[in-house]
């Protein structure tokens, strides 16, 4: 077992999609798995939390942490992973930026709990919020790296199987994990023309032409403000990019950057642009809200009067 890398695959509150993407290496998995000495992987292997705790600090070469901190248990696991691993990999956009569930930061915790347990149409009784033998829910979703330092970021929702394989192999050989410094536009093969958009449309309007740039056709494609790496999968499926791999190199605030883009290329009165963005946070920070300095306002500070 001398040459094997000791790894853990850890799941905080998450959807398993990044792990599925790893499994989607299919037969190539058979080349990767033998290189790994898997010490913890709840999804596929029967090790328990105390097995993870028993490891010496820094005993793991790498911990791939998928997901975000929504409960006390998530925070605990995240900190434990940091202790036990030489390299902590923020596996996926939830782990890197907060992900889709960080949109919940638009609501204070009590509203989240009330809707699910007291107000949902199918719930009977409507008098209980679970709390027995359960980890506490966090007041808001933080970025994981506000709690512990991450050594490698693997953004994407999910990162592609190839990106994951590249990262694993890089880590195994002690090389840095490489990321594109470009945007999705660079990977997208559509014909791009000068941008002077007179009319934007919603994703379900019309029938997109698969050859032309989606923004030129009036769709709100977030590709210009999104890091390349996935091969422009969604534009290739005739669908605008939603920004799932987070902001490009050097950009910390994805929404602000995209506002710069759309404000610059829209050829219309401001109000018309506003009408296209009825949900700015949801449209522009869909995967990265926990990264925004604004994201604690409604969940903790209760927002403006």
């Amino acid at each position: 077992m001398a040459g094997k890398a000791k790894v853990a695959f850890v799941q905080l509150s998450s959807c398993w999609g990044c792990h599925q993407s790893l499994l989607d290496l299919h037969e190539k998995l058979l080349d990767v798995i033998p290189l790994l000495d898997i010490k913890y992987w709840v999804a596929a292997v029967d090790f328990k939390v105390y097995d993870l705790k028993k490891l010496p600090d820094g005993g793991l070469d790498a911990a791939f942490v998928e997901g975000l901190c929504r409960t006390e248990e998530d925070v605990h696991l995240l900190k434990l992973s940091r202790e036990k691993a030489k390299a902590l990999v923020a596996f996926g956009s939830c782990s890197s930026f907060g992900g889709v569930p960080s949109i919940a930061n638009l609501f204070p915790k009590n509203e989240l709990l009330e809707r699910k347990y007291l107000k949902a149409e199918t719930v009977i009784d409507r008098n209980t919020i679970p709390s027995e033998n359960l980890p506490q829910i966090t007041n808001f979703v933080p970025r994981n790296d506000q709690i512990v330092k991450a050594d490698v970021y693997l953004p994407g929702c999910p990162p592609t199987s190839q990106e994951i394989a590249n990262a694993v192999l890089a880590l195994l050989s002690g090389k840095p994990v490489e990321h594109s410094i470009k945007t999705i536009c660079d990977e997208c093969e559509r014909k791009k023309e000068e941008k002077n958009v007179k009319e934007f449309r919603r994703d379900f309007e019309g029938k997109p032409d698969p050859e032309k740039c989606l923004i030129n056709q009036g769709y709100l494609c977030m590709g210009a403000g999104t890091r390349a790496g996935c091969g422009a999968q969604c534009p290739n499926a005739n669908h605008p990019c939603k920004g799932c791999s987070g902001p490009p190199e050097g950009v910390t605030d994805q929404a602000a950057k995209l506002i710069g883009t759309f404000g610059g290329i829209a050829d219309m009165e401001p109000q018309k642009l506003l009408d296209v963005f009825r949900d700015p946070v949801g449209q522009l920070y869909k995967f990265t809200y926990a990264s925004s300095p604004l994201s604690k306002l409604r969940s903790v500070n209760k927002g403006e009067k």
Partner: protein, 161 residues
């Protein structure tokens, strides 16, 4: 984080001014040479055109604790670079809608068109803006940049009123 005490106890808002060289900055100069009095709460950053402003700068200013961000440039139609201010107008309106949805008072971003000869307009705007900001209180994001780290008290403690 949010200190409503500051609303009443001599709170002096910090206004970050992101202004264009050809119009508003020149106007500010003019206010100076004409000895027009206005509140000293303004800290100016000069750019050649307001369209140089990446909305990120505004967010950054707010994140670093500015109570208000004043973006000001040439009147529509008069932009030194023809159409830069139209881009600014769209960007700032959309950015304001974003921060409002996120729970930050929209008054914290203010867009004005102030020309080189309108030093007195700048003074009037500042007098008004300082009052508005005093009324809504200090920026709840103040101190957020210092506290990049999140601890258990933030995550599980009582929510801040």
């Amino acid at each position: 984080m949010k200190d409503s005490k500051e609303k009443s106890e001599g709170f002096e808002p910090y206004v970050l001014g992101l202004v264009c060289n050809w119009c508003t900055y020149a106007g500010a100069d003019m206010a100076g040479t004409s000895r027009i009095q206005y509140p000293p709460n303004l800290r100016l950053v000069r750019v050649m055109c307001t369209s140089r402003l990446d909305p990120t700068f505004v967010i950054r200013g707010l994140e670093l604790g500015a109570d208000g961000v004043l973006v000001s440039g040439c009147h529509p139609g008069d932009c030194h670079y023809v159409n830069g201010n139209y881009k600014t107008e769209r960007r700032i309106h959309l950015l304001t809608k974003l921060i409002q949805q996120a729970g930050l008072e929209p008054e914290r971003i203010r867009l004005e068109w102030i020309s080189a000869s309108e030093g007195s307009k700048l003074a009037e705007v500042m007098k008004d803006y300082v009052q508005v900001l005093k009324k809504i209180g200090s920026n709840p994001l103040r101190n957020s940049k210092e506290k990049h780290h999140v601890d258990d008290k933030d995550l599980f403690g009582k929510e801040v009123k």
